[in-house]
């Protein structure tokens, strides 16, 4: 039988990068930008953090690391890296009105390339025999659980045993939902995503909203990459390890019908689905079925996508102008 107390923390650990990517992409998509570059952005977010902390760890090989700096340096590097990716996307799609799908795919190529290239260079620099970099000291700060988690048995394990980025991801999702649905800026943002020309006529600066939403979205998504390396993978960067989580985060956006609050639960569910194949007993003779179980999250997403479009409820639809560039002169 599945050991629930061991399973849930792992599922939640898996869900954090997905949730961060999903919250970021929801903000982006609400502005009408379909950013298929999220997988690349998450790689860049991860590697920027790794680079930052790598040099900080190198700088204090023989002395104590300052916990605050150990966390702030990778965090800032990651945010800057993913912000730059967001800016590239915005300049191309918003200012230069390029096709969003093409730009997004190019960004994914670019971002994954950056991640693996600099990852590879750092591995070479560190002179390790294994094809990975271990930043265990920094990771120690990132994955520090709440102090009293160990004393509270299963409750502590399920609710309190995570690093700060995990809690931050939930807080970000909640804030994103509040901003989207309870503030004037959120209302404007949704208006931009639904009908940019109407928003423009109402005096909303469409470009500004698209820029801000996309860049903030990318920064949030980049944190997902950072969390994966620093916390989930215990500070070990190995090339391509992040895998297809970026695409799964985009799938999650659909699954959560563009609502970050649903995104929280959907992310945990997906996190569980992502690793459930490890827990389904298959026996040694039927290893192949594990591969089929890995298909579950995608099939479920496709199903939800079709279902929401079948039911055709207005509030569950993608933003109306999703994927389209806005040309003011072409109204």
């Amino acid at each position: 039988m599945i050991d629930i107390v061991a399973f849930i923390p792992r599922a939640i650990g898996q869900s954090v990068p997905l949730l961060l990517g999903c919250s970021g992409e929801i903000l982006t998509e609400k502005s009408g930008n379909l950013n298929l570059g999220i997988p690349g952005v998450m790689y860049v977010g991860g590697i920027s953090g790794v680079i930052g902390s790598f040099f900080y760890e190198q700088a204090c090989v023989n002395k104590e690391m300052n916990p605050l700096l150990a966390i702030l340096i990778p965090l800032l590097c990651s945010l800057v890296g993913s912000f730059i990716m967001g800016m590239i996307y915005c300049i191309l799609t918003v200012s230069l009105r390029a096709n969003q799908n093409v730009t997004g795919l190019a960004m994914t190529t670019f971002g994954v390339g950056i991640g693996n290239f600099f990852g590879g260079s750092l591995i070479k620099l560190s002179g390790a025999d294994v094809p990975s970099i271990a930043l265990s000291r920094t990771s120690g700060y990132f994955s520090k659980a709440l102090p009293f988690a160990a004393n509270l048995g299963w409750f502590g394990k399920i609710f309190l045993s995570y690093g700060f980025l995990c809690y931050l991801s939930f807080i970000i999702a909640i804030i994103a939902a509040l901003v989207l649905y309870k503030t004037r800026a959120g209302l404007h943002l949704r208006a931009v995503g639904e009908s940019p020309s109407t928003a423009d006529a109402a005096g909303i600066n469409v470009s500004k909203y698209k820029y801000v939403a996309t860049c903030v979205g990318c920064m949030i998504a980049g944190l997902g990459g950072l969390y994966y390396v620093m916390d989930y993978a215990s500070g070990v960067w190995s090339n391509d390890a992040f895998g297809d989580r970026g695409w799964l985060a985009i799938a999650l956006v659909i699954f959560s019908i563009w609502n970050p609050l649903i995104g929280i639960f959907a992310a945990i569910l997906f996190g569980g689905l992502y690793i459930v194949y490890l827990y389904i007993p298959t026996g040694m003779d039927y290893m192949e079925f594990k591969e089929l179980y890995k298909m579950i999250p995608y099939v479920v997403t496709l199903f939800v996508l079709v279902l929401t479009s079948m039911r055709n409820k207005r509030e569950n639809q993608p933003p109306a102008s999703l994927g389209l560039s806005y040309f003011r002169e072409e109204r």
């Binding site: 990716m85 971002g111 600099f118």
Partner: protein, 409 residues
């Protein structure tokens, strides 16, 4: 972004149509600018002389007879996939599921080779392989098309999901067929008997995909430009409402086009497994389904132009691969360079479609008299703007790498 709309210093006007040589001039300028930036990035991040790096680029793509053939072969596969996606794109159906459609085509081919190999005569086997690969690809294209036609499901996202379902399906069968057990690879299929291996044309193993690609290009060009189907696709792409109004059955057109699109992807899968690799892995297509989106879009969905754009991408890939091995860099360096060049090309399209009119020139009627001077400044702007774009990415890398360099010393 420096040119936000709130500043009244200039405004943006759509061009009528730019003369073709000017349009290509802008593109060429963008590519040159991109190459310069790539050179700078290469030097800064790796400390290599950019000239020798570019030399290695050409060496990688054309260095020897064999390299030229491989370049052409890779180009053909990418070209076929791009051509496959094109009718869908023309219809504004964003099929980014090329990856999955190629994979299931490859899977069907491999299945036939493994299950039927040596049991039936080879010509019959190859026929069955071809039919099943085309059918598998078509089915994979059909599923999102039906969803789109019936319920207007977002096709970008549904085709994306189909990719991963296909990948896992291939992974599943890889384990089922793995040789030896536990290796997670299928190995070369029918190595001793060569059953189901596609025939070599004129004694060259590289020629078959190239010929198929050329035939496909020509047929796709004719199909899109001169056939009734092609016309219908164009109308649906321009305006679905118009299509409906004139009595076209848009649902039927969407489904039919996606069947074609998927089947052609399946064909690429057939060539990959039956003709080139003789094995199947989840990464057999190495992301070309996504690259093809860019190839098709860069060529403005014109099959003939696609020959050049697919060449460009494959040239970069092969060249960067050579650079990586020659200079001991990691393979991903190719992705970075491809990314930078793509950003430039994507960005420069803006300057072909639009022009920026400064405040002083506002008095002139827009588009009426376009002096040579003006076009020149626009071109300069194009470069400048494109540079801006890449500079940011560059700045980041520069920073990081100088640090790296310092460390090594």
């Amino acid at each position: 972004m420096k040119k936000s709309k709130s500043e009244p210093l200039f405004h943006i006007v759509k061009r009528d149509t730019l003369v073709w040589y000017k349009a290509w001039g802008i593109r060429a300028a963008a590519i040159i600018a991109a190459l310069i930036v790539c050179g700078i990035v290469t030097t800064v991040t790796t400390g290599l002389n950019p000239i020798s790096v570019y030399g290695a680029f050409i060496q990688g793509a054309f260095g020897s007879g064999r390299k030229v053939w491989i370049t052409l072969q890779n180009m053909s596969i990418l070209l076929i996939i791009s051509l496959a996606l094109t009718p869908a794109f023309k219809m504004r159906f964003w099929n980014i599921g090329g990856e999955g459609q190629v994979l299931v085509g490859a899977l069907a081919t491999a299945a036939c080779m493994i299950l039927l190999g040596d049991k039936i005569p080879n010509p019959l086997l190859i026929l069955i392989m071809t039919v099943s690969a085309l059918a598998a690809g078509a089915v994979w294209g059909l599923i999102p098309a039906v969803f789109k036609a019936k319920w207007n499901t977002n096709e970008t996202l549904s085709t994306l999901m189909m990719n991963y379902i296909a990948t896992q399906l291939v992974a599943f069968f890889t384990v089922v067929w793995e040789v030896p057990k536990g290796s997670f690879t299928v190995g070369i299929i029918n190595q001793s008997t060569n059953a189901g291996w596609l025939p070599q044309l004129f004694g060259s193993k590289y020629l078959l995909p190239i010929v198929v690609a050329l035939v496909t290009t020509a047929s796709m060009f004719v199909y899109l430009r001169y056939s009734k189907h092609g016309y219908e696709i164009a109308v649906v792409g321009e305006s679905e409402k118009t299509a409906k109004y004139v009595g076209m059955k848009t649902e039927k057109i969407i489904i039919r086009t996606m069947l074609l699109s998927g089947a052609l992807c399946g064909l690429a899968g057939l060539l990959l497994v039956g003709g080139i690799n003789h094995t199947i892995t989840t990464t057999i297509n190495s992301g070309q389904g996504f690259t093809a989106v860019m190839v098709s879009w860069l060529a403005k969905f014109n099959p003939i132009t696609m020959i050049f754009t697919s060449f460009l991408i494959i040239f970069l890939e092969r060249g960067a691969g050579e650079v990586s091995t020659n200079f001991g860099l990691n393979q991903s360096f190719a992705d970075i360079l491809t990314g930078i060049i793509l950003f430039f090309i994507i960005g420069c399209e803006f300057f072909i479609t639009y022009k920026i009119v400064g405040k002083a020139k506002k008095a002139e009627p827009a588009g009426a008299s376009k002096s040579i001077e003006e076009t020149k400044t626009e071109k300069a702007e194009a470069e400048e703007k494109a540079e801006e774009t890449a500079e940011e990415s560059k700045a980041e890398e520069t920073e990081e790498k100088t640090e790296t360099a310092e460390k090594t010393e």
